[in-house]
Amino acid sequence: MSAATDYLLHLADNALVLGQRNAEWCGHGPILEEDIALANVSLDLIGQARLLYQLVATLKGGDCTEDKLAYFRDTHEFRNYTLLELPHRGPLSGYAQGDLDYSTTIVRNFLYSALMALLWEALEKSANADLAAIAAKSQKEVRYHLRHARDWLVRFGDGTDESHARAQASLDHLFAYTQEFWAHSPAEAAAIEAGIGVDVRTLQADWDAIVDAALAEATLVRPAVGGYVTLGKQGIHSEHLGFLLAEMQSLARAHPNGAW
């Protein structure tokens, strides 16, 4: 049972944290169409997270609810990839709160959506029928997210000198974090053993193919990676997740059991 819930929380936290991050663009998008597109991507992600949290709550039983899982766990209990909690600003744009860099957003959405397009498809064969059902829906949605991010990646990379430089800098900044995709956590290993989860390493060649084709079209260079592999999915996070959760959870915590 806990192999399933730990793994489901990993998937759910990924979707929720990136959904919350992308929603920061709501009302602040670089152009109206992108403002709306990112809000819609966020809705999909938060919807996927809800389905997964509801499933975890059912499996755990007792007084566990989707809201408790989303709003009343703390940083070290979240199991998302570190990549997804990073702010929308990279090495070119400075680190002030207002200096959001859209290329960071696009590069991250591309790297993550490419993985999830493959992972959701593989999870349609999960031994957990409920997870398989969520995967079958989510794979339809993530293909649109991937298409959106890839188109903008190519537009930025093969665009102006400025957009190219920003896209490359974002890629250089974020790419090392993708190493975490391929390093199994104990929860993933247990879920794979139980037939619930998928060994992401079997998807790596396809992910490489998607990434390399897009980068070639975008005239961007794939950065070499190495060094520290982040451990967000094991609960060891960057300093950024705490701020994200504080904003997301404060209302629910100020008004426990509030309904509207």
Partner: protein, 166 residues
Amino acid sequence: MTTTIEAAWSALEQLTDPEIPVISLRELGILRDVRHGPDGLEVVITPTYSGCPAMGQIEDDVRSTLETAGIPARVITQLAPAWTTDWMSESGKEKLRAYGIAPPHETPARHNVVRFIAKPAQAETVPCPHCGSANTVESSHFGSTACKALYKCQDCQEPFDYFKPY
């Protein structure tokens, strides 16, 4: 017993999508089944997009409609098989068009992700729901909601939403 099922169908028939009020839940393919279960009548609905903000409203509408009609039934939300725009009826598609939304094409044959993403998007033309012209371009993959893309007609110059295949 069949009459209860018929009564439930006819009560639910009038329910429309909260965001696109010209199309009924049945025409959208959300209302899947009304059947006798072990504990009485069951109404099966299948959600659309995971993040669709209308789904909560739709479930509430189904429940309250059954209650008002005096038909006790359990509402079952069923994820599998996943909802698809291919379930949308022809009459539903026609109503969308008349409302100014280009109806979805049939979902394309599913290729693996690597092949899917290597191909350029939207090879098929989406005719303008206002003037019928095939001379249209996509302006954004996402329109007013996740289920729609934003298009522009090059002939009548009107923007319009396209209900994407899902």
